[in-house]
């Protein structure tokens, strides 16, 4: 696919990589036990010496966050590193109380994965460079001539997913972003709400002459864009802007740009001269992680069926068309529900449209199961069914509860709130 066929002889290809940040919905923060539920709370009421960066405070890693990051990595076909370390990313900004962010650089938790995306015509694989663990920064509000800081968000667990520069069109970007959002919700690791900032997108965009194998020497970072639609518009604009610049012999440089929705164009935020020099080095306050293959396997077994695999299964086994399958996938409808519907209604399968079935099933659904007794009953059944997991948990293997949560989710056909299921299981296992 080539851009710029009409205006010039030379054809160009965009080179695009994406970075996605997702905030995890753990109870506590990444390196302290302050509440991570900061949205709409009184400013600076969820802080402690660790997340305020006070001298002498020591970080303590949140186990659930590490497990969630591994889940995301596994779902994206990443390899889980045997050894993983946190590092300090050093820079000065008022939202960063320590003067550095604890992140990962040379030893990320998970690396080298892939995901299939749908573009204009074909399905292609996008390579995932890494999914690593880090912490969020405080929140800044600009007010008159000064800046107000709220550190409630400081230290909330954040997973960063970086692709290789493999995207060829904005359609692929849209599909990728939507797939990731759906994945986070399926795994129950984040609400992935873009407007609230649970999920943030950044794109690195450059263009090269068609067929050229070498990557361009510059890249433009598109940042602080809080919707799929704006991101797609910004990338589209940027590709055209860069081609036009190259056509008139301009040299493009490394810079950060944002999206102006009113003017429908990108604008310069930061140029190369101000580029950061992060001086990463291993975080001396956090010992290394050696990840146990047995534990990784347990986490892998606890994963629900992934949304794209489910859609594929509908298509092949049930002969449902792609769009209908995606529709069903979005609402977590499982074949059993469709079968029940058809049997109960004695419907004529030849006259019913799949979309219609899905709509009606959704109408009948009460949404998430909120009935405490019903959930408790299923939790008990899940425990009877999985005595080993119960045993392991009682013996102190926290991870074993994942198996039980998985069993409850299967029983409720995905209609239970995984967080609530965990709470009930924890109560019963006490």
């Amino acid at each position: 696919m080539a851009y710029g066929e009409t205006q010039a002889m030379t054809k160009y290809e965009p080179v695009i990589g994406l970075e996605v940040h997702v905030e995890l919905n753990t109870k506590s923060k990444m390196f302290c036990r302050c509440s991570a539920d900061y949205f709409g709370k009184e400013p600076n009421t969820h802080t402690c010496p660790v997340c305020l960066g006070l001298p002498g405070a020591l970080p303590y890693t949140n186990q659930q966050a590490i497990d969630d990051c591994i889940k995301i990595g596994l779902a994206l076909n990443c390899k889980i590193s045997e050894k993983s370390l946190f590092e300090r990313k050093n820079y000065f900004y008022p939202d960063l109380p320590k003067g550095y962010q604890i992140s990962q650089y040379r030893w990320p938790l998970t690396v080298n994965g892939w995901i299939e995306v749908e573009g204009r015509e074909e399905i292609r694989r996008i390579r995932i460079n890494r999914a690593h663990q880090e912490e969020d920064t405080g929140k800044l509000t600009h007010h008159g001539g000064s800046t107000l800081i709220d550190f409630n968000r400081s230290g909330v667990p954040l997973v960063e997913i970086v692709t290789e520069p493999d995207f060829e069109s904005v359609e692929e970007i849209r599909d990728y972003s939507k797939k990731l959002q759906q994945l986070f919700r399926y795994l129950g690791v984040s609400n992935a709400d873009m407007e609230r900032g649970d999920m943030r997108l950044e794109a690195n965009v450059s263009v090269k002459r068609e067929g050229e194998s070498e990557l361009p020497k510059y890249r433009v970072e598109l940042k602080n864009i809080n919707s799929f639609r704006f991101m797609v518009a910004a990338v589209d604009y940027e590709i055209k802007r860069q081609i036009e610049a190259l056509e008139i012999g301009e040299r493009l440089s490394q810079e950060t740009r944002g999206w102006d929705e009113d003017k429908k164009c990108t604008y310069l935020q930061r140029s190369k001269e101000e580029a950061h020099d992060y001086r990463y080095f291993p975080e001396p306050d956090l010992p290394p992680f050696f990840l146990d293959p047995k534990k990784i396997k347990e986490i892998k077994n606890s994963l629900p069926e992934l949304p794209w695999n489910r859609a594929k299964r509908y298509q092949t086994k049930l002969g449902i068309k792609k769009n209908d399958a995606q529709h069903g996938r979005k609402h977590k409808i499982i074949p059993q529900e469709i079968a029940n519907y058809l049997i109960n209604k004695k419907s004529d399968i030849n006259t019913l449209l799949p979309t219609q079935i899905i709509e009606e099933i959704l109408d009948k659904r009460v949404g998430v199961i909120e009935n405490e007794e019903e959930l408790e009953k299923m939790a008990k059944e899940a425990m009877t069914e999985n005595p080993t997991a119960v045993d392991d948990f009682v013996k102190g293997k926290q991870q074993a509860i994942q198996v039980l949560i998985g069993a409850v989710m299967r029983r409720t056909q995905g209609k239970a709130d995984a967080k609530r299921a965990r709470e009930i299981l924890e109560k019963l296992l006490k």
Binding site: S28, R33, Q63, I66, H142
Partner: protein
Amino acid sequence: MKLTKDQVKHVAKLANLPVTEEEEEKYSEQLSKILDYIDQLNQVDTSDVEPTFNVSGQTNVQSEDKLGVCLPQDDALSNAPKKENGFFVTKGVFDNE
């Protein structure tokens, strides 16, 4: 190894420290001496020593995901030179976060 004044300027900028011209001169000498000392250390043969970044010998230290106690807002803000309605206040930065 001699550290140039430009390098000192760069390091000072990264560390967000204001440095006078006089200090640039002084620090370039002092920091160069530290680098010389590191050079001396570098002469030790460490080819069969595993690099380490943490001397505690511990691994996989993790804590359960449960809530602890936070500081009251007043305490959190008690060292702030400037505060307003529960926020820390600093001079304006306009790079959209």
